[in-house]
């Protein structure tokens, strides 16, 4: 644990930035002082890559910048760099993430604490370049820590926190900081820029390759063939798999600790795992993830004005799945409607809906759970959409839960 700063230290006026989440993420990268950044442009991530490149060009960020020939190489460059001791960063999304998949799904197993933004984008086909969370949802079983931000400020703060989480010796896993394409990536608001010295104090020096290194001063083989049916192979392999699962579970504790320390030091408090909004006296609730929560909270407030007992649960940490926090939240209500910005084809619902259903297994009482899908391919999720979502969810209190999802933008024009 880092030293305890009991009170938020009296600080000078914070530096104010007026920027979108892509620039905010780039500032988060600057503050985290990575040794190496590799990038390849893809909408809606491109301006993030440009900001980082400009910061390097301006000397604001002292990092090696590798303009690789594709996302596959982007992450591969970082694998090499991390094994040589570098703190690293990249960002991608959508097809870029799909192309990156081969090194991507190896990253957590190498236990490399790489931080990577996903500027969430829907998947082709249909051909599209707009926001949606199909990319991150599709890779949620791969073993990265996956955090989803609601606001631009949270993006900046979470990038920095992500390095503490990733490099924690009980975790040693890569972290995806997700922010929605379009609405966050290009949505400009006022944010505060933390002081570099305070971030330095918060983060400490990179601690990246103490467990596996490619260094002529301490030779080893990294990733020898492991497994098979005989000899020490099976047990070794199970050990690594289990260790990875343990690292993910440890991350739940570390994510909470890091967010608490962030709040103490920087005065901004975020629910680390699951946010409960007006939930304590709610009879039913929406479950949301990502930037849609803003309009959804406005809708909840409006419904409350009308006397409707609705609350909201926002998932910040999707991987590892925050089972206890989610069960505690779900246990407070009698019905939930889960709004997904992606599709689970196999279940004819949304991925977060499926996650919620699994968590409900651990709830003492039965809670009907409706799937609502919206915000695909850049579609807007407005307060009006969430008012409908609230009405559909309220209906679960009096009638059976439909198996079909509600497609929120199906009637938009």
């Amino acid at each position: 644990m880092a030293p305890d700063h009991d009170a938020v230290v009296a600080r000078k006026e914070p530096k104010i930035l007026v920027c979108d989440a892509n620039e905010a993420a780039a500032w988060g990268v600057v503050l985290s002082r990575p040794d190496m950044v590799a990038v390849y442009p893809i909408t809606p991530q491109s301006s993030l890559a440009e900001y980082v490149a400009q910061f390097v060009a301006d000397g604001v960020l002292d990092a090696e910048l590798v303009e690789a020939e594709g996302e596959h190489s982007v992450l591969s460059v970082l694998h090499g760099a991390a094994l040589a001791g570098a703190r690293t960063y990249t960002a991608s999304c959508g097809q870029g993430l799909a192309f990156m998949f081969e090194p991507y799904f190896r990253t957590p197993n190498l236990r490399l604490p790489i931080v990577m933004s996903i500027v969430n984008r829907d998947g082709i086909t249909p051909q599209c370049v707009w926001g949606g969370q199909q990319d991150a949802m599709t890779v949620r079983e791969v073993g990265w820590v996956q955090l989803f931000c609601e606001t631009v400020q949270e993006v900046l703060d979470t990038i920095v926190m992500a390095y503490r989480i990733a490099e924690d010796r009980s975790v040693m896993l890569p972290v995806n900081v997700n922010h929605d394409g379009n609405y966050l990536s290009n949505g400009i608001v006022r944010i505060e820029l933390p002081e570099q010295a305070e971030v330095d104090d918060f983060l400490g020096a990179p601690d990246v390759n103490w467990h596996a290194a490619l260094d002529p001063k301490r030779p080893m083989g990294v990733d020898p063939l492991t497994g098979g049916a005989t000899g020490p192979g099976p047990a070794l392999f199970v050990g690594y798999r289990r260790g990875h699962c343990e690292g993910m579970q440890n991350a739940l504790r570390v994510i909470v600790e890091v967010h608490e320390e962030w709040a103490r030091r920087f005065g901004r408090r975020y629910a680390p795992l699951v946010e409960e909004y007006r939930l304590d006296d709610a009879e039913y609730a929406l479950v949301t993830i990502g930037s849609m929560a803003g309009a959804a909270k406005d809708a909840v407030d409006a419904a409350r004005e009308r006397g409707e007992p609705v609350g909201l649960i926002r998932i910040k940490t999707l991987r590892p799945f925050p089972l206890d926090a989610m069960v505690a939240a779900l246990d407070k209500v009698r019905a939930v409607g889960v709004v997904d910005r992606a599709v689970s084809y196999g279940w004819n619902s949304g991925p977060v809906h499926q996650e919620t259903l699994a968590a409900l297994q651990y709830c003492p009482h039965r809670v009907p759970c409706l799937s609502l899908i919206g915000g695909l391919a850049g579609a807007d999720l407005t307060q009006a959409h969430f008012e409908r979502a609230i009405a559909e969810t309220a209906r679960l209190l009096v009638s059976p839960c439909p198996r079909e999802p509600v497609w929120l933008n199906a009637e938009d024009r």
């Binding site: 596996a212 290194a213 990294v222 990733d223 020898p224 492991t226 050990g239 690594y240």
Partner: protein, 100 residues
Amino acid sequence: MKKQAVPLFDASAIPKTLCPIATEYSRMLPGDWRSLRPVVDRRKCVKCAVCWLYCPVQCVVERAGWFDMNLATCKGCGICARECPQRAISMVPEEDEEMT
């Protein structure tokens, strides 16, 4: 022998459940793959080192007046015998050797 290798990473303090790493030299010796064994005729050997140059497992060892093979690692491929300009190496079936 000029040593080049640096001591291996001491992994004793590293949990065995993180990244798969290999930090002990393999002790596998492929000498038992061999069905033919190279036998060097010391009188013919002029130490030209052609056998060393072409031996895939690099099992050729220098003796005072000739080159010999380390049979712990020699796989018996026969390249040395084929390439030796002096015809100083012959490949002898293992079972014959055992019986002599």
